[in-house]
């Protein structure tokens, strides 16, 4: 408990400095409203349902896009590592697509699927699929020959080896790729909602900012930051449990 407190002490100090900077007008309160005002605005947003409504639609988009990317990216990555023809077909596509800034696709996805959920889900899916595919591919390709041979000599067929040896062996790298995808999904979500959307965190940040409600705008920014942080922590806990075999001593 004390340890956690000490660990997050810098954040507390930052909050305090923020509050003072605004209260004593070291900076303009338009640029930085006092933190206490931000908290008050947050409570208001929560009470009038605005925050929950927009959260729900943002989380739906992340869930859809990220979920799809995890399923399809894993299948593609392992397929590329396991069957040469799949690799020959997909490797150049992944290579070329890898460095494309995915935010550049925002207008494209809007043209395809409109202003609603579809374009956001597609964008998150496309962006997140890359790290998931690469993680699954690297993990599956590194599967140890001797382990595969051992399984084969114990009577496991090729598909059995894939399921029993290659996939568990790929897990650490795959889970790492998914973590990158998780962080990326928040970035893509907010940027796409900032550009064109009628709901969601990005939309809320943009419209509150445009309307001059800076304290409320900050409240939404902090909400997204906190959600991203919490999601990463929860994810790390899942990883820790899944890979318990690795860290036990």
């Amino acid at each position: 408990m004390t340890k956690t407190l000490i660990r997050y002490l810098p954040l507390l100090i930052l909050a305090l400095v923020w509050e003072m900077a605004a209260r004593f007008e070291w900076v303009s309160t338009t640029a930085l409203p006092p933190l206490t005002d931000v908290v008050r605005a947050w409570v208001e947003l929560l009470l009038d349902g605005e925050l929950l409504r927009n959260s729900a639609s943002s989380l739906y988009r992340i869930g859809g896009g990220l979920g799809l990317s995890i399923v399809i990216g894993t299948v593609l990555g392992i397929g590329m590592a396991w069957w040469k023809p799949v690799n020959v077909l997909l490797a150049p596509i992944v290579e070329v697509f890898y460095p494309v800034p995915k935010s550049a696709l925002i207008p494209v996805t809007v043209i395809w699927l409109g202003y609603g959920d579809g374009s956001k889900i597609l964008l998150i899916f496309l962006g997140c699929m890359v790290p998931v595919t690469i993680g699954a591919f690297n993990g599956a390709r590194a599967s140890e020959q001797v382990m595969v041979w051992s399984a084969r000599s114990m009577g496991a067929g090729k598909l059995r080896v894939l399921w029993d040896v290659v996939i568990p062996g790929a897990m650490p790298e795959l889970l790492n790729g998914i973590r990158t995808a998780l962080a990326l999904s928040f970035i893509l979500l907010v940027s796409s909602e900032l550009v064109v959307a009628q709901k969601g965190f990005g939309f809320l940040i943009g419209s509150l900012g445009a309307g001059g409600s800076y304290d409320a705008m900050y409240a939404v920014v902090l909400t997204v930051a906190f959600l991203g942080f919490a999601a990463d922590r929860a994810y790390l806990e899942i990883v820790r449990r899944t890979l318990a075999w690795r860290s036990v001593t």
């Binding site: 001797v146 000599s153 114990m154 009577g155 040896v165 075999w245 036990v248």
Partner: protein, 264 residues
């Protein structure tokens, strides 16, 4: 009447194709016969193709020239009649010791109660009782190799292929494991092909030692090393010392040749 051989290696040649660089003739016209329940060591300098020969018998590498027959049938792939133990254990790190030992039994379709009991029996046989729920990362090198041996013995292959199984262990553990293997082998006599570059180990464990030449690998000679190994002072035993000396002289030239080739 001589019993027909269980494993027949008939005029095998094998090309090793590295991902980069020129292909190398790893094995050149190798023939070998192994009888049932015999313990034979393949001995030679590193790079002589002894592991390649083992992998060919295991069915892990495709036979390109010549033929390998096990119980009269040509080897076309891996199978549970031939169990293998690798130098670096090849345990599944995400499974416990019990999970690893159970794996082969599950693949054989053994009933649950029976395989649970059998797994525990073999864990006990290799002296890992109390560690059945440990993960490989929690075990020492010697314990990992015990677990790997239990995993392979448990599904009861007729033939045990061992690829420098004690090569990654420290000298003391190695000595203990050699004794242990002899004990286990006397209780569950299987045909064993044991790859090593350690002359003492080869003489200590096997009935015959096939000495291989430096690349391209050929079988230079086969030395009979069957004598009473139950002498508690085996390392000072006259027959043992003579055999080690005889084989060491055969291997020495090859080791020097292999060294020369590598530094060239």
């Amino acid at each position: 009447m001589q019993e027909p051989a269980q494993i027949v290696v008939d005029n095998i040649s094998h090309l090793y194709r590295p991902p980069r660089g020129r292909e190398v003739l790893a094995l050149d016209a190798v023939s070998l016969e192994v009888r049932q329940s015999e313990f034979i060591a393949l001995l030679g300098p590193s790079g002589c193709g002894k592991s390649t020969l083992l992998y060919l018998i295991g069915g892990f590498l495709p036979v390109e020239k010549g033929e390998i027959r096990v119980d009269g049938k040509a080897v076309a792939g891996p199978g549970p009649d031939r169990g293998i133990v690798f130098q670096h254990f090849a345990l599944f790190p995400w499974k416990t010791v019990r999970g690893n030992v159970l794996y082969g039994l599950e693949r054989q379709g053994m009933a649950k109660a029976e395989r649970e009991k059998r797994a525990m029996d073999y864990i006990e046989l290799v002296g890992l009782h109390g560690f059945e729920d440990s993960y490989p990362s929690q075990l020492s090198g010697g314990m990992k190799q015990r677990a790997a041996i239990a995993r392979t013995l448990a599904f009861d292959p007729k033939i045990l292929l061992m690829d420098e199984p004690f090569g990654a262990l420290d000298a003391q553990t190695r000595g203990l494991m050699q004794m242990e293997l002899l004990r286990i082998w006397q209780r569950t006599p299987k045909t064993v092909i044991f790859v090593t570059h350690d002359v003492q180990e080869a003489v200590l464990l096997s009935d015959r030692v096939a000495v291989m030449s430096a690349r391209p690998g050929r079988i230079k000679t086969i030395v009979d090393t069957k004598f009473d190994k139950n002498d508690p002072d085996i390392f000072k035993n006259k027959t043992f010392v003579e055999k080690v000396d005889e084989i060491w002289n055969l291997v020495k030239d090859e080791a020097i040749k292999a060294q020369g080739k590598r530094s060239a």
